[in-house]
Symmetry: C2
Subunit: 248 residues, 2 copies
């Protein structure tokens, strides 16, 4: 006879857990169903200006009158609050859940920065990060949005996998890169990643393409070391405009 460490009512407990998970998925679908378009911004490496591109995209859409949100899914290094001047703000909590912080132009923002002091590092392994992102999608009262931008951390680990899993209806991804990455295979990795997860590639943004000296006006391509060649042909066939890409 074998011993077991499970409680006697473990079948009942598992059933409850499964039901709870189903309820969570249901709640997540309802919340996310109110957001017409969801676009993730990814990069192969950090420091290419991914968060800056995310914020600029959101501001551009908000200026055109779209109801816009940003989910800062970078758990270890959230940058969005600082870029929008929202550092130190906190979410308001009501009966239906937590409400996003409203930034400039009415952009709704959620970031781990609103939960933890800015100098405390999130020393978290994958499952904890996955849980945080799930809560951001499920328990935040985003309300009716035209478009939600998701700022993902660099790399191809837990955070983007979690987003891909929970948001199968995502419109697509914008890949941000810089010139020195083009020759290094890093952009190809990001493109391969998106294709493998059936994420639609909306476009590739080449950031930091040149620095114009404020003293003499001459342009220097600081990070240039190869140039955009090979990735174009890979990504082009997958980058066309979604058909429902209109304000409805």
């Amino acid at each position: 006879m074998t011993q077991t460490t499970e409680p006697p009512n473990f079948i009942e407990a598992r059933k409850q857990k499964l039901l709870e998970q189903q309820r969570q998925v249901q709640e997540l679908r309802v919340r996310m169903g109110k957001i017409k378009h969801k676009i993730a911004v990814i990069s192969g490496k950090g420091g290419v200006g991914k968060s800056t591109v995310t914020v600029n995209l959101a501001v551009a859409f908000a200026k055109k009158g779209y109801a816009t949100g940003i989910l800062d899914a970078d758990i270890h290094g959230p940058s969005v609050p600082r870029l929008l001047g929202l550092t130190g703000r906190q979410l308001k909590v009501g009966p239906p859940g937590a409400f996003p912080v409203t930034g400039p132009l009415g952009i709704k923002v959620v970031s781990i920065d609103f939960f933890l002091p800015e100098t405390i590092p999130t020393i978290w392994r994958g499952p904890l990060k996955m849980g945080a992102i799930r809560q951001f999608l499920q328990e935040i009262v985003w309300g009716d949005l035209d478009i939600l931008f998701i700022d993902l951390p660099p790399g191809t680990g837990d955070e983007p996998l979690t987003i891909a899993q929970f948001l199968p209806d995502m419109d697509g991804v914008v890949i941000v890169t810089m010139p020195s990455e083009l020759s290094s295979g890093i952009v190809k990795k990001a493109i391969t990643f998106a294709l493998r997860l059936n994420m639609f590639i909306i476009g590739v943004v080449e950031n930091m393409s040149g620095f114009v000296c404020p003293h003499c006006g001459q342009k220097t391509e600081i990070f240039q070391s190869g140039g955009g060649r090979s990735w174009g042909s890979i990504s082009r066939q997958h980058t066309h405009r979604p058909e429902n890409w209109r304000r409805s």
Copy 2:
């Protein structure tokens, strides 16, 4: 009576697993015991030149005649092979395990890049990354080294936690940052992270402190937005030279 999905001999199986884990830890200790000094290079955010600093440190030590190694623990975005001109190389495998690739000045290098084609993304969650790093430490025949530099990915997630767990005898960490991070709390996060895990802070490197225009020679502080102020006092009390910091 409860049902159980465990096999009848699960106690024996668990015992075997535990013994296997003990054997692995033992093997790891033996392998790592041959390396006199271990230094991790960390950063709060990506794109600050962490890998470049790691490689420069390794080259500087190798030039002084120290037997030097680099463990590229950045699983999603390995940069070390490219910086040392070792892209496309593969590890040689023999009976005692896999041998690191020997780079310039005899620097021994191990990177995920030597296992996978450069354009294939590592779509891995935390536990898989943890397993890879454990294998890098345990199953690689590093041999006798004076110093091993560990290039960690940005952030405070699975990879640095794994290194801290497996290498409790590490000499310390070098934190790489850039001027724009100093005012943002990101450096403080990295420092807090290191202190919490009882990692000794050897120093903070401020990279990209200014760009000298090749056309007119004027310096522009592109990423400057605050300046190094507050973190100095936090880190200074923890940054003194380890006593055994001599070539033995």
